[in-house]
Symmetry: C2
Subunit: 546 residues, 2 copies
């Protein structure tokens, strides 16, 4: 018998107890509700009861107080109920960001139904597939989406609610603003019950339907409120789509919990951003790496000076511009790391910022680790997949709907596999290193496209770039680099190749290099890597690298 | 911003690191292999290389040294390979405990194939279903099982290997002892690869096919070796079926790691037990509550005096007889808690015994908690389901084959739900309280049949008993008690009812009481509750309890 074991047992048990003690509930949630788990209607009700006259939503020149918002939510719930929705039934939507998208979402939850908001950019077979999979009998949409809708008889949809009906349409659809009996009280739901089904973008394979519970949204938002010090006098500049967790959790539920107002915008506009901020007197904004870089690349303007913003919730702050961004715009930005399956997984925030470039360490509700392909932890400094595990119930997705195999694959060894590459430093801080699916496999080496691109971006002539894998005749892949250059810059592929060769491992140096005008991005700012991964006889080929 | 958060983050991160540091690998495994994860062939090879002449297996008067065992295992692997088995293919068996069951199991693994040992008690549709689900093309069985085998054309089985062929059968089957080229080296497999598919008994619904990895068996066995102080001079009295994890992990792989010998027996026999122990000079035995009670109920014998046993690995030691058992037989017994999905979940052992009646606290490789139906932890003293989570990779089953939904249901919130009821005391020790599925639901109360039965068993006239739920006209269930009495005892149902009423909550007191000669048990000692759960007009009915 090993003499260490008895004391080990003691330590271990003691640790678990201590660990349980230190998982303090989000203080903002406890302050609002006096409880550690909650539904979204719980939050709506508590917020409105305490501060009925505070502003909840700003849309251009229109404003809704908490009480007015709740009346509208109750009316939409009443309308949906009259049309046959109820506990556990589904409502699907195809909507751009607008107040009706907020009322549809919250009205559906108020009724105890589940909300399936689809990305309004989808078309054709994908949209039809998502509508069918949603199982919803009621669709809320807008007239601009009608030309793109598939034949609804192939889906379960029986009723279409139109947020902007014109004369020609009113006979076959229900107008969103139809009067309905206001449902005063929310249907009884549990914090762990499904609130939304959110489709992940599905860059690899069919998109997955993520089952998101009420508590996942509420508790995640409360953690952000605590970590970013969000307050009742904050105005949240929300351009994030409401069909994503970002629009729902990061920029709306946070406001409900903190007590602030949501200034809603249809999309991100680098041209309009500072005038929107000024008009709404916004104090909180959100975004990711590309948003920061877009704002930095704009010439300095009168509007940006003395802007009202004070804090930004950012996914992936490029370390080199972190300080410059804060200094130029007079605000602080902090890291947020997570995904539709669980968010935030770290609690970097702004009160205890991690080292520049790190997305923080594990949030209070999660364990986080970097593991190899067999789920064994790797030593600090190694770049492998990061995995997470909830320390409390109902803070992580409850599965991919109708895809238990994908869920199990994501949950093997009872870790949630994020699909991201990360590394951890000696102090426990995590650093993002790209998507696992975007790693290029060359001669037995895994190359992080993220890291390769970071090096290429450091070239003063490079505006944007992407590294992709292309099939190799030797098996596995070759590295292809696609670059767009800054104005008035001239660079030959050879020069870029030499620049790379001086700064990265030999196996990372791109064999193929293509210089193009603009890289292809999706409306949400995701790079379309597939469009880049072809090689033609015209593609510059540096030959086999030895 | 809550001022606790920064320090919380620090503490939390520090804890996880410390926790990782204290998960010491099983010292017996490191001592044997110098590694923390292993396959079963790794263990076989290391054991044989170091101690080729030590005894591995004892069967009556026959003995095999490690070297002889490995030669036999290599020959069986060669035979299976010649018959078409190979990496990742399946071999199914229907065998009673005998040396061929050991060689089939280990020979299959040596070849890199997966082993599916079926319980030889199965018959008819269940056996046919399991054979089909196994996907095996090779079946190893014995002549006594042939009458019960279904038509194999409905399965994937193409070849039958018979361990005891008679003249009449040799034409259609392959003899197990056919000469074959000995496979000297094991096929390359990883510790996380599937070693066995083990069917759980399926008392509720269809039995589930548990995917068990090499490492799960090896590391679990090594934890037992450490916790029970098992040694190279130990002889393991193994009557546990080799088609269960008990026979494989607890009583064979432990011996391989500790360096002891396995004395194999076909089944447990209370009559033969002490002579078997004497003949094999066994030092380690195993069993569960009923085995201890059977041995205690036997009159004292010459053989039991000065018996060679020194330690028992027991699942569920009844607290009242713990000391008396140890004293009477001059040995120590320790608790083992786990299931086919993960074992041992606790590391009670004998070196650091938990309080009497407790099955210990979490083993070094697991977290263990008691949670409510929403997976929220309950305070000490509450009886709810216990759940477990692995702290390292590949120590828990990787899923129920072909049943991802059952797997996900068992893994919700990324906890493995054991299906057991347990409670934890203020010091972190766990106490078994029966199966969740055996809880009786009466008027909104969950009644642990285990607890109810413990009280009834304390009646001096009661030999054995079972509490079962029977459907109530009021909805939910009524409590029925079935009792067998000690010899020369006479008891009326009313007396038992009054005995209960004085000692338990009103809602637990049985309404129906039946007195029978013997309770129905399966060969492995599991009570057949289904057979007891009927009520006829003849059943004594104490009426509605208010």
């Amino acid at each position: 018998m090993d003499a260490r074991l008895p004391s080990l047992e003691f330590e271990h048990s003691w640790f678990l107890r201590f660990l349980a003690d230190v998982i303090a509930p989000p203080s903002s949630l406890v302050a609002l509700l006096g409880q550690e788990q909650a539904t979204i209607p719980d939050v709506l009700l508590a917020r409105t009861e305490r501060f009925p006259d505070d502003t909840f939503l700003i849309w251009g020149t229109e404003r809704w107080s908490n009480a007015e918002a709740l009346a509208e939510i109750g009316r939409v719930a009443g309308l949906l109920e009259r049309l046959g929705a109820g506990s556990r039934s589904r409502v699907v939507s195809v909507l751009t960001n607008q107040p009706a998208a907020i009322w549809s979402w919250l009205g559906t939850l108020w009724l105890g139904s589940e909300y399936v908001p689809l990305n309004h950019h989808h078309r054709g077979a994908i949209l039809e597939d998502m509508l069918s999979r949603s199982r919803a009998r009621i669709l809320v949409t807008e007239s601009s989406a009608l030309p793109w809708l598939p034949a609804l008889r192939e889906t379960a949809v029986e009723t279409v609610i139109l947020v902007d009906p014109t004369g020609a349409e009113v006979e076959s659809v229900v107008a969103f603003n139809s009067p309905a009996e206001v449902r005063e009280q929310p249907a009884p739901v549990r914090p762990g019950d499904t609130a939304c089904v959110l489709y992940t973008s599905g860059t690899t394979g069919r998109s997955k339907a993520v089952l998101v519970s009420h508590n996942q949204v509420v508790r995640g938002a409360a953690r952000l409120v605590d970590a970013f010090g969000l307050r009742a006098d904050d105005v949240f500049h929300n351009w994030l789509p409401l069909h994503h967790l970002g629009g729902q959790l990061h920029m709306t539920t946070t406001a409900l919990i903190a007590g602030g107002a949501v200034a809603l915008f249809p999309t991100f506009s680098r041209r309009r951003f500072w005038s929107e901020v000024a008009q709404a007197r916004a104090t909180v904004f959100c975004g990711f790496s590309a948003i920061l870089q877009m704002l930095m690349s704009q010439p300095e303007s009168e509007l940006e000076k003395n802007n009202t913003l004070r804090v930004g919730i950012i996914a992936g702050i490029p370390a080199p511009i972190h300080d410059a961004f804060e200094k130029r715009f007079g605000l602080v930005i902090g890291e947020n790391y997570g995904g539709t399956e669980a968010d935030p997984l770290t609690a970097a925030g702004v009160a205890a910022p991690p080292p520049r470039g790190s997305f923080g360490n594990a949030a209070a509700d999660f364990e986080l680790a970097v593991v190899d392909e067999h789920d064994n932890p790797v030593a600090p400094g190694n770049i492998r997949q990061d995995v997470a595990r909830p320390l409390v119930a109902d803070v992580m997705f409850s599965g991919y709907e109708d895809d238990p195999r994908a869920t199990l694959d994501a949950w093997r060894n009872l870790w949630f596999h994020t699909g991201d590459l990360a590394t951890q430093d000696e102090d426990g801080f995590f650093y993002y290193k790209g998507r696992l699916a975007h790693a290029i496999r060359r001669r037995g080496e895994n190359i992080s496209t993220f890291e390769l691109e970071q090096i290429v971006r450091s070239h003063p002539g490079v505006n944007d770039c992407a590294a992709v894998g292309v099939p190799s005749v030797l098996g596995e892949e070759e590295v292809k680099l696609v670059v767009s250059l800054n104005p008035r810059t001239y660079l030959e592929p050879e020069q870029l190749r030499d620049f790379c060769a001086e700064r990265m491992a030999k196996f990372m140096v791109p064999r193929y290099i293509e210089i193009i005008d603009t890289l292809p991005y999706t409306p949400l700012g995701k790079l379309d890597r597939k469009a880049l991964s072809t090689v033609s006889p015209e593609t510059w080929d540096g030959g086999e690298i030895r």
